[in-house]
Every structure is written in C-alpha cells, then in structure tokens.
C-alpha cells in the first residue's frame, strides 16, 4: 500500500493518520476535510467555549508542530463528493480527484434540521466551531433561549446558558430527556438536574411552527402553547455523512456498513467514527456510535486494519463510553443500554445527584451510569468488559 486517503479531518481521521505513522506506514497520507480548519475538539463547543471560559482556538487537538510531524497532505475546506471505488479515486467539490490504495472514511455526521426552520435568523444547530461562535455571539445580547431536543447537545447548551444566567426553555418530543439512551428512570434524574437549575423543561410536545418575519420571535408548540424566543438551538440528532457515497457500491445502512474489523465491503476501504456502523462482537450487535472515545479508538483500529492482511485483522470490540457535563454534574456511561434493561440504582442516591446505576440484561451486566462517581463507574467498565453477571455487579456495588 503506497498511498492512503482519509476523508474526514476531525478526531477519527486524525487518530487514523497518527496510527498509520506510529505503526510504520511511510507512504503518502492525504487528509480531506470539509471545514477549513485543522482537527479540533468538539466536546468543549457546547460547554467551555460557549460559556466563554475557553477561547475557540484553544480547542485545537494538536499544536502545529504535532500536525506537521504526521507528514500528511491536508486538503481542508474541500468536500468529497463521490467515491469511484472501481478506479480508487475520491472526487472533490473543487473538481480535483485524489487516488488512493487505502481509504479511511471518517466523514462523521451532520446535524438534523427541523423541516420548519425555513429562513429565519436566530435558529442554530451546534456541530462545528463556526456554529459555536455564531451562537456565542448571540448569547451576548442575553436572549431568551429555546432549545429543541433534550439530547446531550441540547441539555449541555441549556446548562451552559443557565450558567450564563439566561432564561432557558427545553422542548422534547419524548416524555423524558435522554430516555432513549438512559431509560425512563434515569431520564427523570437528568430532568431533575435541569429543573433544579430553573430550566423550563417541556417534554412530550413537539414544535408546531415558528413565528417571525426575518428573525425568530416565537414558537408554537403541539399543545398550542406560544413561547417567545430570541434564540433557538436545535439539537434533534445527527445523520451519518454518507451522501457522497451514494452509488459508489459501498454498503450503506444508516452509516457505512463494516464488519467486526472496521472493513467495508470494498477491499482496502475502512470506516471509523460517527459515520461507521460496524459489528461489535462483544455485544453481538451492529452499532454506530457518536461518541468522542469511539472516534479515537475506532480511528486507531480502522487505520491498523488497512495495514494488515485479512487473516491478521482483529475485531474492534470496545466497551462504549460517553460522558456529558451538565452544571456541576458529570454524567458518564459505560456499556450499551437498550429498552427493557433492568436498571437499578446500586450506589449513592439520585436525590444527591451522586450515584451509579447498573443496567442488566439476560442476567449479565451490560452498562453502568454514573452521576459524579467516576471512580466507582470504572470498576463496572471492567465488569462489562469481563461479561460479569448482573448479580455479581450488584453485589460489588453494595460493597463500595
């Protein structure tokens, strides 16, 4: 393999490039990025950067010297528009074509927009540094903020805006925040954090329409309520960025379909990060994760996959991990939850916002959630990794 192209210049792409070098690949590396920036860290965008306690440029993932040390050709501010798998070329929106022997697909995901947001000003999504700076600018005018969607991004934005003393309403179509990820009971615990801080949280209702002439002025909810708003942040999830792969012959199914080793159906083409749907043998299911840690680990795994033969390839079988900082609470989750899991608060108390809850399925521990109990949580990460019995995990929690 002489040349490897990485499409996507964020965390997964960066870790792929670094791993190729650390594993001895000395051929040509080309990194294509849609944003005109070197890789930066996204988690602080909804937190410290939006709060104004960290400068936007302090999110860079490496200093210039470290970027240079990778020895890659960076093509930033340019989008991939098509993958010509037969001729092993990536087409760019500049009209250029980049040929490759090996390809890492790490294009991430794009935020979903509401169908009704039309052309009104004052409505934002938060994915990129530019999005963050644009919202930050508007926050200076002390707007009344409405967040649509009580997922992690929406709730972090709500938390940050409350820290800045702004009036915040959160609207969620489902009955509870984060219920799909954490389950109903833990969704309540999350709701509690926000209610305690004075957020107007409205669950189980959608947005019917937006009002305003040039700029958003109000929202009308499904139940008829009219809410005045100066700034709307939409956090209703993301879709894997696979448009450019349509018609390429690569298998797509809400993401780029990969086997357990991060390889796609096209030889020499791998995928990593938010865009990749791969089979995780540890959980016996195909999954697509939008977490920071997965971008790191899968970026590394996908790069290694390109450098080994099919026989040498190892499965990528991580225990998923994600976190969210809301007010002074650090929410952390390890493992994999599903509706119907047996969820038990096994250590600490929900009232104090300091606890560990365990998730059991078919007698096994499959996940653990912590509110500000990082030390205790990591014990359960190891237990999930070792496929521990749920009863043993509960016993361990009782002994903490």
């Amino acid at each position: 393999m002489r040349s490897i192209t990485i499409v996507g210049a964020s965390l997964a792409g960066l870790r792929s490039a670094e791993t190729l070098r650390s594993d001895g690949f000395d051929g040509e590396i080309t990194i294509i990025g849609a944003e005109d920036r070197l890789p930066y860290d996204r988690p602080p965008l909804s937190k410290a950067v939006l709060e104004g306690t960290r400068a936007p440029e302090e999110t860079t993932l490496r200093d210039q010297e470290q970027f240079d040390a990778i020895g890659a050709k960076w093509q930033l501010g340019t989008k991939a528009t098509f993958l010509d798998a037969a001729n092993r070329r990536v087409h760019l929106d500049s009209g250029e074509q980049v040929s490759f022997d090996g390809l890492v697909i790490a294009t991430g995901a794009s935020p979903r927009h509401l169908p009704l947001t039309a052309e009104l000003e004052g409505i934002h999504v938060l994915r990129t540094l530019d999005d963050c700076v644009a919202i930050g600018k508007e926050l200076q005018a002390s707007p009344r903020v409405v967040v649509i969607g009580a997922g992690f991004i929406g709730l972090e934005v709500a938390s940050t805006c409350r820290k800045r003393g702004l009036e915040v309403t959160v609207i969620e179509a489902l009955p509870k925040p984060l219920a799909r990820v954490l389950g109903d009971e833990m969704g309540d615990a999350c709701a509690g954090l926000h209610l305690d801080q004075g957020v107007d949280l409205r669950c189980g209702t959608g947005v019917e329409r937006l009002e305003g002439t040039t700029r958003v002025e109000a929202l009308v909810l499904g139940d008829g309520t009219r809410l005045e708003a100066d700034l709307v942040v939409v956090g209703v999830g993301v879709s894997p960025a696979t448009d450019w792969l349509e018609g390429s012959g690569i298998e797509l199914n809400n993401g780029v379909v990969c086997d357990a080793t991060c390889a796609t159906n096209i030889p020499g083409v791998v995928a990593a990060g938010d865009v990749a749907r791969w089979y995780n043998p540890r959980f016996g299911e195909s999954m697509r994760l939008e977490h920071w840690t997965n971008a790191v680990e899968q970026g590394m795994a996908a790069a290694r996959r390109l450098l080994v033969s099919d026989e040498e390839a190892e499965p990528f079988a991580p225990v998923p991990y994600f976190w969210s900082d809301q007010y002074s609470t650090k929410i952390q989750f390890v493992g994999r939850s599903a509706p119907g899991d047996d969820v038990r608060v096994a250590h600490g108390s929900v009232e104090d916002n300091q606890f560990v809850a365990l998730y059991g399925r078919a007698g096994k521990l499959v996940g653990a959630l912590s509110f500000s109990r990082p030390r205790q949580l990591m014990d359960f990460r190891r237990m999930v990794e070792n496929n521990a019995d749920f009863e043993d995990a509960l016993k361990h929690a009782a002994s903490l």
């Binding site: 860290d41 840690t293 790191v296 650090k330 952390q332 390890v334 500000s372 990082p374 030390r375």
Partner: protein
C-alpha cells in the same frame, strides 16, 4: 518513561483508570492520582492507551 498529567486539563473522567488501573486511580475525593510516575517499560502499551483515550488530553508520556 515518565507519566505526566496536566491537572489543569484533567477533569477526572477516570477513563485512564479503566484502561490502566495499575497506573492511575481516581479516589473518593474525585481527584486523579498517578500510582507509578515512572512505570516499568512493559507498561508502555497500557500507558499509551490511557493517554490516547483521555477525554481531555491531559496525559502525556515523557521518554
């Protein structure tokens, strides 16, 4: 090999402790402690994994 943690960046996720419990520990005070500042060479892969997955990029390895 020397482990260095930038405590201005560390926010006690404890992920390092999940990967390398021999080297890192978050204690009940929710602060991170380095258990072996200069671990033996055979611990390098684990130390590197811990540094790689640190959500705040607080861990570096010198030497």
């Amino acid at each position: 090999m020397k482990l260095v943690v930038d405590f201005n960046k560390c926010s006690s996720h404890g992920v390092c402790m999940g990967v390398a419990p021999e080297l890192f520990e978050v204690r009940d005070d929710n602060f991170l402690y380095i258990l072996q500042e200069e671990p033996p060479e055979e611990m390098r892969p684990k130390a590197e994994s811990a540094a790689a997955v640190c959500p705040t990029g607080a861990i570096s390895i010198e030497g």
